[in-house]
Symmetry: C2
C-alpha cells in the first residue's frame, strides 16, 4: 500500500463535471489500495472573479485581506470534491490550510511554508478516509490566513508529500507529462518517462511551463518523487526523481526549452575596469527588473561590451534606468533587440559527456542559424538567436540529439 498525494489544478476542477471526473479518479486510486491525500486549487475563473470584486473596491487592496478573499476559492473546491467522493461511497474529509496547520511565515500573498502538523491528516488516513486539502494557503502563527503565491497549490502538494513521507506526489495538469520539447513546434517531441529534479528545474526556468519552479526545488530538496500526469487522459506521465539510475543508454540531452519573451540590451564601449558590470546592472535590478543572460566579452582598447537580456515588457523601463548610468560611465552607446529568442538544451548527461555544446553549435550552423549569445551551466547550454529562427533551431536540435521516439 502506498501513500499518494494527488494535486489537481484549477482547470482540472473547473466545472462540476470535472470535479466528478476527479472524484472518479481519486476513488479508483483509493480502491486500488492506496492512502490518498488530495490537494486542489480554486475552480478556474474563480480567482479572477474574486480579484475583480476587490479591484472594484480598491486599486491597492491589503495583502492580508486579499489572502482572506482568495483562499475561499480552494475552500469551495475541497467541500465540493468531498461531497462528490461521499456520493461515490468514498469516506472523505476536507481541510483548509489553517485546519491542518500549514504554518507559514507572515508574508501575505507569497508566504513560505514553515511547518505542517501531520497528526490530524494521519489520523483521518488511518480511519480509511481520503483527506482533501485546500492548496495555495496556510496560516501564520497568529492564525492569519496566508497564501503561497503563484503555483502555490503545487507547493502545498509537495510540502504535504514531504511532511507525510508520501511515496509519490502526483501533479495532475492539462498535459500528460514532460516532453522533450513543445509538440506544437516539433512533431517528433516525445514524452519523457523520467527526468531529474535538476533537469526539470532548468527546463522550467527556460520556458517549459509544466510545473512551478518552487515546487520542483522543494521536491528536490526533500527528495519527494514527483509525477506529472494528465487529468483528462490516462497514462503514466513523467516521473521526476532525485537522480537517474546509472543508465548507459540514456540520452545526453533530455529536453529542449525555448522562450521568446526576452529582449537583448548591449552596452557598447564600457571602460574595461573593475566594478563596471555592477554599476550597469545594480540599478537595473534595483528597479525590480529581472536580468536573465549576462555576457561580457573581453574587449579591446580598454573598453568592453556588456550584453544582457530582460523580459520584453521591461525593455522600455530598462532603457530609462540605463540612461543616466551609461552617460556617467562614458559608454559609447546602447543597442537593443527585442526580436530574439533563447533556445536551451538541458540534460544531466552533459556533466559527463564532452562536446555536447559543440554538437549544438554545429547543428545550428548546419541550418545557417547565427548565434548571438551563449551561456552555459553544468547541465544546460543556452543560445540567443534571431526570433525567426527559433522553431527551426528547436527542430534541428531535437533531431541532432536524437530525442524523437524513433531515430531520425
Amino acid at each position: 500500500m502506498s501513500l499518494l498525494v494527488q494535486k489537481y489544478g484549477g482547470t482540472s476542477v473547473g466545472t462540476v463535471e470535472r470535479i466528478e471526473a476527479v472524484a472518479d479518479r481519486v476513488a479508483a486510486t483509493q480502491q486500488a489500495g492506496n492512502d490518498v491525500v488530495v490537494v486542489v486549487s480554486a475552480m478556474s475563473g474563480e480567482t479572477n472573479r474574486l480579484l475583480g470584486l476587490a479591484t472594484e473596491l480598491s486599486d491597492r487592496p491589503s495583502t492580508r485581506e486579499m489572502d482572506v478573499l482568495l483562499s475561499t476559492g480552494e475552500q469551495v473546491t475541497i467541500a465540493l470534491l468531498s461531497i462528490a467522493l461521499h456520493k461515490r461511497g468514498v469516506p472523505a474529509i476536507s481541510f483548509t490550510g489553517s485546519q491542518v496547520r500549514i504554518l507559514t511565515d507572515e508574508s501575505h500573498s507569497k508566504a513560505r511554508i514553515e511547518h505542517i502538523d501531520c497528526e490530524r491528516i494521519n489520523g483521518e488516513l488511518s480511519q480509511g478516509r481520503v483527506v482533501v486539502v485546500a492548496g495555495f494557503q496556510g496560516a501564520d502563527e497568529k492564525g492569519n490566513i496566508t497564501t503561497l503565491g503563484r503555483g502555490g497549490s503545487d507547493t502545498t502538494a509537495v510540502a504535504l508529500a514531504a511532511a507525510l513521507r508520501a511515496d509519490e506526489c502526483q501533479i495532475y495538469t492539462d498535459v500528460d507529462g514532460v516532453y522533450t520539447t513543445d509538440p506544437r513546434i516539433c512533431e517528433g517531441a516525445r514524452r519523457l518517462e523520467k527526468i531529474t529534479f535538476e533537469e526539470m528545474l532548468e527546463l522550467a526556468s527556460q520556458g517549459s511551463k509544466v510545473l512551478q519552479i518552487r515546487s520542483v526545488e522543494f521536491a528536490g530538496k526533500y527528495n519527494v518523487p514527483l509525477r506529472v500526469l494528465s487529468s483528462f487522459k490516462d497514462g503514466p506521465g513523467t516521473l521526476i526523481t532525485l537522480d537517474q539510475e546509472e543508465d548507459m543508454e540514456r540520452a545526453i540531452v533530455s529536453g529542449i526549452a525555448f522562450t521568446r519573451d526576452e529582449a537583448k540590451v548591449v552596452v557598447r564601449g564600457v571602460p574595461d575596469q573593475p566594478g563596471v558590470a555592477a554599476r550597469v546592472l545594480v540599478p537595473v535590478s534595483e528597479a525590480n527588473i529581472e536580468v536573465d543572460v549576462i555576457v561580457q566579452n573581453s574587449g579591446v582598447d580598454n573598453t568592453t561590451d556588456l550584453t544582457f537580456t530582460v523580459s520584453r515588457g521591461d525593455l522600455a523601463r530598462t532603457l530609462e534606468v540605463l540612461g543616466g548610468v551609461v552617460e556617467r560611465l562614458g559608454a559609447k552607446q546602447v543597442e537593443t533587440d527585442d526580436r530574439i529568442a533563447k533556445v536551451s538544451i538541458v540534460g544531466v548527461g552533459m556533466r559527463s559527456h564532452a562536446g555536447v555544446a559543440a554538437k549544438m553549435f554545429s547543428a545550428l550552423a548546419h541550418d545557417n542559424i547565427n548565434i548571438e549569445l551563449i551561456t552555459t551551466s553544468e547541465i544546460k547550454t543556452s543560445v540567443v538567436i534571431e526570433e525567426r529562427y527559433m522553431e527551426l533551431a528547436v527542430r534541428a536540435l531535437h533531431s541532432a540529439f536524437e530525442l524523437s521516439g524513433s531515430k531520425e
Copy 2:
C-alpha cells in the same frame, strides 16, 4: 464613546456598490467616536450559487462539507468590506468565525454558540481598528467549521455584542424598523420607537419577519439592546430592550402580526379521555411536522373535538399520519381548511390591562368577521379567521387599538 456591533445582511452587501455604502456608514460611525465591530452575511445570491454547485454533485451532501462550502460566502464579504474601509482610510481587520474562536457545538448547519474569546477583538479595537467578523459561522472544539443555520448572522452579532458587552447591537436590514403592522396591508402602520424583547418575539413568531427569533431570544437573555435600522435610508430605527420604562402613556398593544401560511385540522368526535390529545399529536410531531395553535373544546356525549393548525405545506403529510391514528381512536372524522389566516395582537400592556381580548373580539365582530379559533398567551391574543378577511381584520384592529401615528 460607545462600543457598537453592527450587522449587515446579504441584501445590504449584495453588490460592490452596496459594500461601498456599508463602508461609508461604518466609517461615519467610527469617526463619530465609537468602537465598531461589524458582522456581515454572504453577498445575496452567493449562498444559493454555492448550494446549486453542491446539489449538482449530491442530493444529500454532508452537513460538515456544506458548512465548509457555505462559510466561504461570509469570508468573501469580510475581506471586501475591510478593503473598502482601508480605501476610506479606516484601519480595519477581518476575522472568520474560527479566527475569533466563535466556539460552537458540533451540530453542523445548525450549530449553537458556546463561547466567544474576545481577547483578539478587544486587542484590535484598542488599536483603533474596525473589526469585521464573518456572520453565521464558528468552529467546534476540533476546529471543524460550523454554521449557525437560518438567521445565523443576526445570532453572531447578538452573541458578539453580549460577549463584548457592547452598548448596542444594530441590525441593518431592508426595512427601517419594526412596524405596528405590515404597511403594505395597513396604510396607517407606524414605525415603533421602542419595543420589548418579548413583544418582538411574539411578533416574529406570528409572522413579522424583521428579525430571527433566535437572535431576539439571545439578546433578551443577555440583555443586549438591539436596534433594527435600514441600510438604505437614515433614521433611528426601532430599539428593542429588556423592559419598557414605566410609561403610562404607552399603548396597550404594540403591534399586529398575521400569517396565512397555516391550515386547520379538526378531528371530530374523539373520545374524551386522558391521553387522547397526545395520541393524536405525538405522531404528528414525530413526523417532524410543527403544530402551531392547538384547541380542545370540552365536548358532549363523552367525545370532544381537537383542532390544531400546521403549515400549509405540511397538510397532506399530516393527514397521512393521522389516517391510522384516527381509526384506532374511533374518532368520527377529520376536517381540514387551508384557507385560514391567523391574526395576533401583541403587547406587554396586556399583562396589566383587562379587557384587551374582548376589545379585539368586538372590533372583529363589528366588521362581521367570524372567529374560528382563539389562543392567548400573557402578551398575545391570536385568532384564526377565514383567509379572505385577513386584511380587513388587520386594519380593523390597527384602528381599534389606535396604532396609527395620528389618531383615527
